[in-house]
């Protein structure tokens, strides 16, 4: 077990300087993620361009893994269609949990998250943002009237 597998340079960089940090207003989709185990909270807003994610931002307090994962995710999903986002999440999820998984695409810097494989207690930190993104997309679908409060996603 090597800590450098978990806390790689790119992860520390995104933790200390998170990209796309903040809130989009107006937003087409909103969701809040919560990891009760460590108290992490994530507020995610996104704007859609038809079927594509035009922009996405997040804010909140979290550990290095959850913050870096959210930061890298926002970079990775911009401009992608929903189907592409779903495929990306599927690949990332396998990378987080399986040692010999071969992704269906080049994951770029997202592969750095694979270090959590050796730290099972931390997998939820890395996946919280993806579940929250899914919830924000689903919220957009469910609430054309925008009366429904944003969903709360919990990893527990």
């Amino acid at each position: 077990m090597d800590l450098r597998d978990l806390y790689r340079e790119v992860i520390l960089d995104h933790y200390k300087t998170p990209r796309n940090f903040g809130e989009l207003a107006p937003a087409d989709g909103v969701a809040d993620g919560h990891n009760p185990l460590c108290g992490d909270r994530l507020h995610l807003t996104l704007q859609l361009d038809g079927d594509r994610v035009r922009d996405v931002r997040f804010e909140g307090k979290g550990c290095a893994i959850s913050t870096a994962s959210a930061s890298m995710m926002t970079e990775a999903v911009k401009g992608r269609t929903r189907a592409e986002v779903a495929q990306l999440f599927d690949d990332v999820h396998h990378v987080l949990t399986e040692r010999d998984y071969t992704p269906s695409q080049d994951l770029g810097k997202l592969v750095a998250l694979g270090g959590v494989r050796e730290f099972p207690a931390r997998v939820k930190c890395a996946s919280l943002c993806w579940h929250t993104l899914n919830a924000a997309l689903a919220q957009h679908d469910a609430t054309a009237d925008s009366q429904t409060p944003p969903p709360n996603i919990s990893t527990e």
């Binding site: 077990m1 978990l6 460590c38 108290g39 307090k61 550990c63």
Partner: protein, 416 residues
């Protein structure tokens, strides 16, 4: 390491010898010697507890209070001897006041449902403090939902202390019960239970004490504290999990209805009517955790053999030196600085999330707790999502603190 502070000739406490009683402390984690600083979550067990449980399981096991056969008698004798050990440990007046339960949580739920539910009415009040563990919050919230009573909270101050005046000011004509921790699990604050019971009793209000974090460290004399209920868990005091104790003042327990129905808590059952058993069996429905009870008694005897005041002096000296050394780390803030504290240091380090600290320390073999410590209102009060918490036990030594400090240095390097 500070050899002088641990010289058994000076302190009368030989921590090296104590450590040798705990087999798990000999193991390594990730190739490093185990540094166990999570005793407030669950303490490790000395060999004498493991032996007592094993001896019971291999030689004496049968159901209690039932059979006329030899093993049942032996199991019953061990079980009831354990009750007497607990009574002596708490200095309760009678074994009828000692109820075995699954743990502190179950003990508090028992009081909420058996003492509180029949008595409380709409707009009655239950008074707790701002430093309570969820186990001393949620059962009362459930009771409030059932009865229309209200939960009143005496807040903590910035040190994590609860001022007596703040409790006194919230005791009203509607207060029906005060429920307070003896020692805060998240902050280490020791509350002045004797003074709290004095204030409450002056208004005729009974007091429940959540003693989960106090029993391993403090002298707990329920007569001197003059509390009405006292709850604790076996596994925080070097005993097994899944067993705990509710002490209750006899006349209160006597007046309370059973909580759960079943075997062992009855004298006679017909389809028309059931006559309940006497104390404490009225509250012990079903076959109990017999081996757990036997192990708990062995744990209490072990603590008595070391001496609670000697354990406390040892832990206090470590707590003070560790607090000093931690406070000197740049960016480290100690959460919980009450004047009277026991065995717990909660802290945050600027720029490093507690969860990351926990992982990095684990890689160094150092086990601490990170998170909200089942005390989310405490985290909210201090405006942090979580803290890192190092907690001490009778076996903690200067090497453990040295390892903690070295591992924290490592964490600061990773996040430099």
């Amino acid at each position: 390491m500070n050899a002088r502070a641990e010289d058994p000739r000076l302190t009368g406490y030989d921590v090296a010898k104590v450590r040798a009683d705990f087999p798990i402390l000999a193991r390594s984690v990730h190739g490093k010697p185990l540094t166990y600083l999570d005793s407030a979550a669950s303490a490790q067990r000395p060999q004498t507890v493991l032996d007592a449980v094993n001896d019971y399981e291999t030689r004496h096991h049968a159901n209690v209070h039932r059979g006329v056969h030899r093993l049942s008698q032996e199991a019953t004798d061990l079980f009831e001897a354990a009750r007497d050990t607990v009574r002596r440990y708490l200095n309760a007046r009678s074994n009828r006041e000692i109820v075995f339960v699954r743990g502190t949580t179950e003990a508090i739920n028992l009081v909420a449902q058996s003492y509180g539910r029949p008595r409380l009415q709409s707009d009655d009040e239950i008074l707790i403090t701002g430093l309570e563990h969820h186990a001393n919050i949620v059962p009362w919230q459930m009771l409030c939902q059932q009865t229309g009573a209200r939960l009143i909270v005496a807040p903590i101050d910035r040190t994590g202390n609860v001022a007596l005046e703040s409790i006194d000011a919230r005791l009203t004509a509607r207060t029906r019960l005060v429920a307070v921790a003896h020692v805060s699990n998240a902050l280490g604050t020791i509350l002045p239970i004797r003074e709290i019971t004095r204030l409450a009793h002056a208004r005729g209000v009974p007091v429940l004490v959540d003693g989960a974090q106090a029993v391993p460290h403090e002298d707990v004399d329920v007569q001197a504290l003059d509390c009405d209920f006292y709850a604790f868990s076996g596994h925080k005091v070097y005993g097994p999990t899944g067993v705990g104790v509710l002490y209750g003042r006899e006349q209160l327990l006597e007046a309370m209805p059973p909580w759960q129905g079943g075997g062992d808590m009855i004298l006679a059952v017909t389809f028309d009517k059931t006559t309940y058993n006497t104390l404490p069996y009225k509250f012990e429905a079903g076959t109990p955790n017999i081996s757990g009870v036997v192990g708990l008694a062995a744990a209490l005897r072990y603590v008595e053999s070391l001496g609670r005041s000697r354990i406390r002096a040892h832990e206090h000296s470590l707590l003070q030196s560790a607090t000093r050394r931690l406070a000197a780390i740049p960016g480290l803030e100690i959460i919980g600085t009450a004047p009277r504290k026991a065995a717990v240091i909660s802290f945050t380090i600027e720029g490093i999330h507690p969860h990351d600290l926990g992982t990095i320390l684990d890689a160094e073999g150092v086990a601490i707790r990170t998170g909200h410590h089942c005390a989310m209102p405490v985290m909210d009060f201090f405006g942090v999502p979580a803290t890192a918490r190092a907690s001490l036990g009778c076996y903690t030594d200067q090497d453990d603190i040295d390892h903690l400090l070295a591992a924290l240095e490592k964490a600061r390097e990773v996040f430099a």
